[in-house]
């Protein structure tokens, strides 16, 4: 009996200490910057190949609202966001939302594994220095852009996105004439 209690106490102590040391970063939540209602500057076009070797360009999605996510498999906040982007893509696909992922990983191998594991339902391509720079530089992850149906930048989120905020924004852009 005493042995069981001691083991339980030890396990609880270690788990408690571990949890304390893994507190979320207070500044994690991203915030929209720049224009948020659509009608901003034109979003830079890009031409890349997706993970299946198919051509992937922003221009192809003109007329749809695009959520463009710069992410990487090793980025903790990105990993937390992606299941929610998958859900958004499912929920709003028919209304005109297109999510696109640009991975900043150094090679495709981990991205392919991640794509399958997280059942990603939108195109993903490996990013390049040029594409990152055309969007003002991606020097920290994640970075998410919303692009309106006219291909103009509507919002930028540095850091992890509050999903309620971004969903509200997506709905507004989908409904905009």
């Amino acid at each position: 009996m005493r042995r069981t209690v001691l083991i339980v106490v030890a396990v609880v102590l270690v788990i408690g200490l571990w949890k304390l040391s893994h507190r979320p970063h207070p500044g994690l939540s991203g915030a929209p910057v720049g224009k948020t209602g659509g009608g901003g500057t034109p979003a830079p076009n890009f031409s890349l190949q997706d993970l299946n070797g198919q051509a992937l360009s922003l221009a192809k999605y003109h007329g749809r609202v695009v959520l463009l996510d710069f992410w990487a498999t090793w980025c903790g906040p990105c990993r937390e966001e992606i299941p929610q982007f998958v859900a958004l893509q499912d929920r709003y696909r028919d209304q005109g939302l297109q999510v696109i992922g640009i991975s900043m990983d150094d090679g495709p191998k981990p991205v392919r594994g991640f794509y399958r594991e997280f059942k990603m339902n939108y195109p993903v391509a490996l990013g390049t220095e040029q594409v990152a720079e055309s969007y003002g530089g991606v020097m920290g992850l994640p970075v998410t852009f919303l692009i309106d149906r006219d291909g103009r930048l509507a919002a930028k989120y540095d850091g992890a996105v509050e999903m309620a905020t971004i969903e509200h924004q997506v709905r507004a852009l989908l409904q905009a004439k």
Binding site: L6, H25, C75, G76, D105, D106, G137
Partner: protein, 150 residues
């Protein structure tokens, strides 16, 4: 008796891991703030640290600290291997600054493994650049000097 020994081992391992990690908690003397590193770099004749970037290559290519050498991601075995190769011939008291800046501090997967590796190799004068949010926000946006490309 055996159980108590096992519990003691579990506790020691847990506490040891936490202590190693707490060395890189904000406020630790093993960290250096961006403004302090900048001052060091700007002193004309001061001893400059060896600055090693242990983050993702695409981020390094877009912008990095002048004279910082690209090593490879500290979260990858190849990155740690490159780090071991780079420091192999250095004296153990070489002043080294490691940095990444890919993600918010508590989420960075690269700096801790790289720091632990140097610690394990016996390096005694290693600091990690404390980047609270990311390299863009905490260095580039402040107007601190950068270099692009290789």
């Amino acid at each position: 008796m055996k159980v108590i020994v096992k519990i003691a081992i579990v506790l020691l391992l847990g506490v040891g891991a936490l202590l190693a990690q707490s060395e890189l908690e904000p406020g630790s003397t093993h960290l250096i703030n961006p403004e302090d590193l900048l001052m060091l770099l700007q002193v004309p004749k001061g001893d400059k640290p060896l600055i090693l970037n242990v983050g993702p290559h695409l981020l390094y290519m877009q912008a990095h600290i002048p004279d910082a050498e690209y090593i490879g991601a500290g979260s990858a075995s190849q990155g740690l291997e490159s780090l071991r190769r780079r420091v192999k011939t250095l004296s153990h008291n070489t002043f080294i600054v490691l940095y990444c800046g890919c993600c918010p501090w508590s989420h960075c997967p690269n700096v801790r493994p790289a720091y632990n590796e140097l610690h394990k190799l016996g390096f005694t004068n290693v600091k990690v650049l404390y980047i609270a949010d990311n390299f863009g926000t905490d260095w580039v946006d402040k107007g601190y000097p950068i270099v692009k490309g290789q």
